[in-house]
Symmetry: C2
Subunit: 295 residues, 2 copies
């Protein structure tokens, strides 16, 4: 991973603008999940660290714009760029990181470059769908999973597929692995928003629902409720809800086991990915760790 | 140009999201200067219309984000996307158009793709410099021209260079032509902000200065003024100024011929480009028309 960090440093230095270097240093790099995945799949290829850095730049740019769009004041426990330097700066920095990443991508084989580039269109489209869907109470599971795929899974899918292409491994299998990893990762994230403590999350519990986002446990709950309870749930959507309503929703979720049902889907997707990649113990382990995380 | 519009339609349709198609239709396409330039240079190449569409997508994306950053409510006389659909939508739409353009770019030869992609990093960096510079009264002509080059000229330079590469024409000559076309275009734009009527501009005269932007005529004026007048000019910077101050600035500009001085630089850059391209009468004519425009 040091090789990836070094490439990131080099690319940021090449932008040759002090303001960008300063702002980039302020970003929490996060877990660098995508770059780690690329190194696991294609670590022996000389360009794998560069590909990892490119994908992490894209991921950082998308988070910068996400935080502007969601008006998020923190990111991974530190103040977001839109909080410290304003949303305009976050938009501009995101544009610079995106375009620098695309410029570097050009050096790769066409199929590698196209895989990554196309996933960025998908993730931007997913972000727009996410915002549109939060305007109403979405009860459509398939539509929700489509959005989740675009917004969260496509870049991980592309990272896995592109690194497989780089070293001549099975691109389709790796794409499926990355897709399911991304989907189950996000479903677990959505579950933790409901089940984890405020301290562990670093934000209020059930924040998604307050922001209008109906994740799987809410969609499944809505399906189960009788019509007057459906109305009660609808009335609580997309606003600051009372402790009483929070408790009621959590009790109903327990009654109908909607968190468990969501977890089962994450587990199913994860198993599918593990079966596809059964010969690669490291990739299997990543999924194990991910599915068992508690925050 | 119909071929470019057709390619644009096809690319937008490929994004396959109704909301994007609706929003893209609302954008005024503008003069499509960059695509026209590409067709003039490389019109006989089968991929020239696609390259033109890619560059116009990039230009549209950059304007969407510019309007968010400048809080501009209109663009080319029509309401901006951030005015009608909010700044978040404008950010997301810009990201989608940028990434779609980059995805298509991958199909081109590496040097063509790299030329265009790198210019987007430059223009995003130029936008950030523009915003930073507007925080104070910038009196540094060289710094101003650097920013102008990055923000406005690099994409035109890249369009000219990339299309020359596409058909095996002299890339360096065409790059210089595009650079100077872009620079002189923007200097004329800055002049018109001072000299054109409110009706012709569709916005208040001297709007740049009100927004904090010190264009060449202001930089040259500052150089000429005595210290008490310097202070008076500084005091008027970046705020809504009275009719009296507007008149005073315009009189001082006439006295010191700072608009003429700016125009001379535009003319010089334009002449240099014309001399480089003297054998290509069409490219020479573009500059003639541009430099003589009155709005």
């Amino acid at each position: 991973m040091q090789r990836v960090e070094k490439e990131l440093e080099r690319l940021i230095a090449e932008i040759d603008y002090e303001e960008v270097s300063r702002l980039f240093k302020m970003l929490s790099g996060g877990k660098r999940l995508r770059a780690k995945l690329i190194l696991k799949i294609a670590g022996e290829h000389k360009d794998a660290p560069l590909l990892g850095a490119v994908v992490e730049l894209i991921h950082a740019a998308s988070l910068l714009h996400d935080d502007v769009i969601d008006e998020a004041m923190t990111r991974r426990g530190v103040a977001s760029v839109n909080a410290t330097d304003g949303s305009k700066t976050a938009v501009m920095l995101g544009d610079i990181l995106y375009s620098k990443a695309f410029t570097e991508l050009v050096a790769f084989d066409r199929d590698v470059a196209r895989t990554i580039a196309a996933s960025v269109t998908a993730l931007s489209k997913g972000e727009m769908m996410d915002v549109k869907m939060a305007e109403n109470f979405n009860t459509d599971e398939a539509l929700y999973l489509d959005m989740l795929y675009l917004k969260t899974a496509t870049l991980i899918e592309a990272a896995a597929k592109a690194s497989a292409l780089l070293v001549g491994k099975d691109a389709q299998k790796h794409a499926l692995y990355g897709r399911n990893l991304g989907l189950s990762f996000q479903i677990i994230d959505d579950i933790l928003d409901i089940t984890a403590t405020e301290e562990a999350l670093g934000k209020p519990a059930m924040n998604d629902f307050v922001e209008g986002k109906c994740t799987l446990p809410y969609i499944y709950l809505y399906e189960e409720l009788n019509s007057s309870d459906k109305e009660r749930l609808l009335a609580a959507h997309a606003k600051n809800i009372s402790k009483e309503e929070t408790t009621w929703i959590q009790e109903k979720m327990q009654e109908y086991k909607t968190v468990e049902k969501s977890f089962e889907l994450a587990q199913k997707l994860s198993n599918e990915a593990q079966n596809t990649m059964s010969e690669d113990i490291e990739l299997v382990m990543i999924l194990d760790t991910m599915i068992k995380r508690s925050f």
